[in-house]
Subunit: 406 residues, 2 copies
Amino acid sequence: MNIVVQKYGGSSIGSTEKIKKVADKIIRTKKAGKDVVVIVSAMGKNTDELVNLAKSISGKPDPREMDVLLTTGEQVSISLLSMALIEKGYKAISFTGSQLNIQTTSSHQKARIMDIDVTKVTEALKEGKIVVVAGFQGVTEDNDFTTLGRGGSDTSAVALAAKLEGTCEIYTDVDGIYAMDPRRLKNAKKIPRISYDEMMEMASNGAGVMHYRAVELAHKYDIPLYVASTFSDEPGTIIDNGGGKTMEEAVVTGMASSLEDIQITVLNLPSPTKSLYRLFGQLGEKGINVDMISQMLTEDNLMHVSFTAPKDDLWLVEKVLREWQQQDPTIQWEINEDIAKISAVGLGMRSHAGVAAKVFELMSDNNIEVKMVTTSEIRITWVVVREKEQQVIDLIGHHFGLEMSL
Amino acid sequence: MNIVVQKYGGSSIGSTEKIKKVADKIIRTKKAGKDVVVIVSAMGKNTDELVNLAKSISGKPDPREMDVLLTTGEQVSISLLSMALIEKGYKAISFTGSQLNIQTTSSHQKARIMDIDVTKVTEALKEGKIVVVAGFQGVTEDNDFTTLGRGGSDTSAVALAAKLEGTCEIYTDVDGIYAMDPRRLKNAKKIPRISYDEMMEMASNGAGVMHYRAVELAHKYDIPLYVASTFSDEPGTIIDNGGGKTMEEAVVTGMASSLEDIQITVLNLPSPTKSLYRLFGQLGEKGINVDMISQMLTEDNLMHVSFTAPKDDLWLVEKVLREWQQQDPTIQWEINEDIAKISAVGLGMRSHAGVAAKVFELMSDNNIEVKMVTTSEIRITWVVVREKEQQVIDLIGHHFGLEMSL
């Protein structure tokens, strides 16, 4: 079989009019001789509406029942899309996560896919049907409904493509992956092809189109992803194992920026190693995703340690620090919410040294203080004061050629 | 176990505020020491909204996919009600028709329940949980979703009560079964207790509160039904095998009226037996529910035959007659849509002769033409011109004591 898995997000099917247009797009692929499996999310604002219903009943809705509620969203979508395909004269059949026995862990609202039984899918494909599957959802061993959390529908699509040994196309409201979000960098250029590694670095540092876990899964099973616009035929972006000429040449492939982090600095720690062990041990226990860490020795041989964490976890971080302070009242800290975390990503950094140096030079020439910095083999991330964010994006975007040639 | 199955209809849970009140009512039963299983329908106008979505995609939506769509309605209800119960400090768990493997026939939108696996329900009850089940829905052998059609949620409740050997309470927006719809007979009295047989006769002749099939199933398994108001503590109506003193005394227990029928008269049939065989055979093949039949010989030894059928089936009836007319152009017919079908029902008719005679006398005294009449052991049904309907209801209601004593 020649199977393509197409995923359409909530904004692509936000109305019955849009659903009909998506049906036309699917039919074009079917007519081109492909076996088509479609993954859909909940329609437009449907999930928000369901969450509001739950919130009006309980401040902290029961997680199991929340998933019973949320999974109705995609179920509505798959039925309407299947009806639209059938109305247009094609054979189609829908399946929920439960009907395909998409086995997940039992962590409600953030379940992870363990396995998918594709028997019903392959049978339906053999009968010439277009198969429409509810994304974002699965079931536990006990057949309790689960949802996959952020990036869930993309992950469903990749997992199905992996099991079906097909290709995977992600259709969304942007027409591909840009070197930088075009709302932030005017004239940002579209990337025709990007490696899994680069895409994962960009996704985990603030680039919004693809979620990290879907790209990670595609990487694991070596499923090429094609990201493009639902309602245009503009060529999109291929995400795969790389190897293209363009890739080798670009030092910096893309950039991402995040305003979702805070910087915490714990001051004047007397016995650094023990203190760091204690601090990051306890933050880890609370499930706080500590990202960048830097430390600085003072003249008195005490240590300041800074780290970044997601803004949403601030209350948890403060809880850990207050508990520590109760035992050791000398502990003090500063919170800085006024930061931007900016990353430049590129496979080319592996072979081209000096990107970090160039970034520091650009910052220095423009009197921008680099508050923290970390690097990986293919990424450099640095923190600046928030009001400088746009200036940094423009400087980096321009210097490393992330804009369209005019 | 001491199990009570409570069913709450769509109007009882039409908002999250109402859902919280229903939760309070369920908790009172739980506190009284019962094991509670709750069946809910879709919230208020939710089903209509889903149907409108489908209609905006297809004039004749695919039946399988329609049920995928419709079953989301009750799934939303069960999750929200369970959340409300948990929020109030009680253990609760929801199940869809699929999760309980409520096996049905595969007739989408009008499936019939074959069996229910109550293992999960009894396990949850043993753990002290309130069990909340989606009414109106089930699955086929292949785990395709089905819906049960009109009266479906009541039927789900009765079926579960039968399997669990519990009692069944139907909560709705009226506070019991009245001798006649109080919107039609001012001061109609509430019936404290009514037999399955009477209730079935009333339900199949236009009384709206309970659907025929749910009462029939309760009768089959001898499950007593209690019908009462969701939001008041007024005593409701018990539907069971009868035996109460009140029942034996009343000649007429209740009355029903329907404006949903048409009268068709086929004129001047030459060979009556053969013609009737042909006519009703073909109407039966088309699934038309022919109700009352009367025939009249003319002076020329030809026959007129009249029958009533649901208004919705008029086009099918006319199709049958037109096909007949193509073969035999002498066939002619008249349609009368301007009729009311009124029924009086009472176990007492078994022992008290003369109810039919009394009805004819009342009609005659008031110059009301009885167009057709049929009787069963406990029912008399007659057709009058629609403009006389209210007058007939008042006459019968008054004469047979269906009004409250003041």
